[in-house]
Amino acid sequence: MSTTSAKEFTETELIVCAAAKMLARSRTVFAGVGLPTLAVDLAHRTVNPDIQLIYESGVAGAHPESMAEGIADSVVVSGAEAVVNMHALFGYVLQGGNVDVGFLGAAQVDRYGSLNTTVIGDWDSPKVRLPGSGGAADIMANAGEVFVILRRHDPAALPAELDFTTSASPVRAAEHPDFIQPPGFGVSTVITPLGILRRRERLGELELTEVHPGVTVEQVQEATGWDLAVAEDVQQTQAPTAEAVRLLRDEIDTVRLYLR
């Protein structure tokens, strides 16, 4: 694998490559289609040949012959290692503790990594009705850790207060000490178009650890709805290698379904 950086790469490629690198030691990943799938596929071909992708549709160990257009596409079933029903998938595989990393998207992320995918405005009289939890609240509680990929980074997407907490961080769960606490770490990593935010402690808050090439720490702080903590040793996000970009374009997403 070439280690020279690619001269040209898109923001999407940068994000996918950054996510793939973080999957070097994960055994099982619960992901939706789109960028997370690309990241897992890239990790599989580069840093982690044993990584296994699990879809909430019940498929484990998919070997699709063509690019999947959805987590329940027929091509992720044909030739897969296993298909289990959703009761087993959510009960035994996910809640049972067999998922190391869950990927989630979100309309809003707060400083502790709680996520809103339900509504902008009030739930009772919404401005925008969003898709809701799906499996997100379940993944947040039970995956070893959660990666979030955001398509935008501004104070609306990273607000001081969520309009609605769909998937609660352990910090928010801890406000209910009379409940059995969820076993998951919650969000460990948020990858945005500006940089990478991480939480290092289960009850800690997100801090900026990497800024993308050409982005300043101040820009990221301004684009964030709370007073964003900054790591002592903020790095510049590593540019994708030429080989990684080649794999993404020529082997993984040849039809440019997600690489936009």
Binding site: V33, E56, S57, G58, V59, E69, G70, I71, A72, D73, S74, V77, S78, G79, V83, N85, M86, H87, F90, G91, L94, Q95, S114, T118, W123, D124, P126, V128, R129, L130, P131, G132, S133, G134, G135, A136, A137, D138, M140, A141, N142, F164, T165, T166, S167, A168, S169, P170, V171, R172, A173, A174, E175, H176, D178, F179, I180, Q181, P182, P183
Partner: protein
């Protein structure tokens, strides 16, 4: 069960789906019972409580046709088509009428069917601690775990009046076989008072009985089996036809425009007599393009007691 289990889809819907009923139509992307939902629209059934993890295009259609008063679900979007605009109009601006919504997570919906199927008073779930979902859904409650002394959230059983699913095949007794993604169909079926299964094909019972582990829902849980080829279009049937992805994409502009949406329903559903006519409006060329090439499973051996051995049974 048995003799009168095999009926036409219109007859099954007429027999079991009443105005105001609680109806589950399940199938997670795979095997969505579109033909049955369309028949509900044709028969003008209204006031339904519609249960489905991922309401999807089917709910957009059924809500636009004014069949549904209430949604019980966990995800309000279509993976490929994005927003469901009829659903959004109803929820965001009560246009043309409000829509009640009772919402869960996927695991919670699965557990509601599970508890309903197993006649349990509730099912515990590890999700929701710190989430705002229990705050907007008073049916998500909590109990104290008698082992740890801490609380856990629980969800109540969901027992639809009717559960409708689509499957690759069944025999005439109602033994239903499914492969590919099996979703929550087994729980949703056992949870219901009545079960309607549309199938691509009613097969000889010898075919079903050659592979009993493939039976997801045994005959004792099934009231009606209806042979409805291509009954999951525009969703897909593993091994038979692929998802009509173009249809899903075309839905967005239709769904965005209430007039176009009603026109679509008139042309394709209310203006057709049955699913066969619906398929004609879609067009043979288009359906043909969804065909998949074969990729057969292997066979396994169930064995048969050797004659040699039989004499030694006693």
């Amino acid at each position: 069960m048995d003799s009168d289990t095999v009926v036409s889809l219109p007859e099954a819907i007429e027999r079991y789906v009443e105005d105001g009923a609680t109806v589950a139509l399940e199938g997670f992307s795979h095997l969505i019972p579109f033909a049955a939902g369309h028949e509900i629209i044709r028969q003008g059934i209204s006031g339904l409580t519609f249960c489905r993890l991922t309401p999807d295009l089917l709910s957009d259609m059924m809500i636009a046709a004014d069949c549904v008063d209430r949604l019980v679900c966990s995800f309000f979007a279509s993976g490929s088509a994005g927003s469901l605009y009829e659903v959004r109009r109803r929820i965001e601006s009560a246009d043309p009428r409000p829509l009640e919504v009772e919402e869960y997570s996927h695991h919670a919906m699965t557990l509601r069917y599970h508890a309903g199927a197993a006649r349990l008073p509730f099912a515990p779930i590890g999700s929701f601690v710190g989430s705002d979902i229990p705050g907007i859904n008073p049916d998500i409650r909590s109990v104290v775990d008698p082992y740890s002394g801490k609380k856990t959230y629980v969800v109540p059983p969901l027992n639809p009046d009717v559960t409708i699913i689509h499957a690759q095949r069944a025999d005439r007794h109602g033994n239903v076989q499914i492969w590919g993604i099996t979703g929550t169909q087994q729980e949703a079926a056992y949870a219901a008072k009545h079960v309607i299964v549309t199938v691509e094909e009613i097969v000889d019972e010898e075919i079903v009985r050659s592979d009993p582990n493939r039976t997801l829902i045994p005959a004792h849980a099934v009231d009606a089996v209806c042979e409805v080829p291509t009954g999951a279009h525009p969703s897909y049937v593993q091994g038979s036809y692929d998802r009509d992805n173009a249809f899903y994409r075309e839905w967005t502009p239709i769904s965005k425009d209430p007039a176009r949406l009603q026109e679509w329903l008139d042309t394709h559903i209310r203006g057709t007599r049955d699913h066969a006519e619906y398929l004609q409006t879609i067009g043979a060329d288009r359906l043909l393009s969804l065909r998949v090439d074969p990729r057969p499973s292997g066979t396994v051996d169930y064995g048969r007691r050797a004659s040699l051995n039989e004499g030694t049974v006693k």
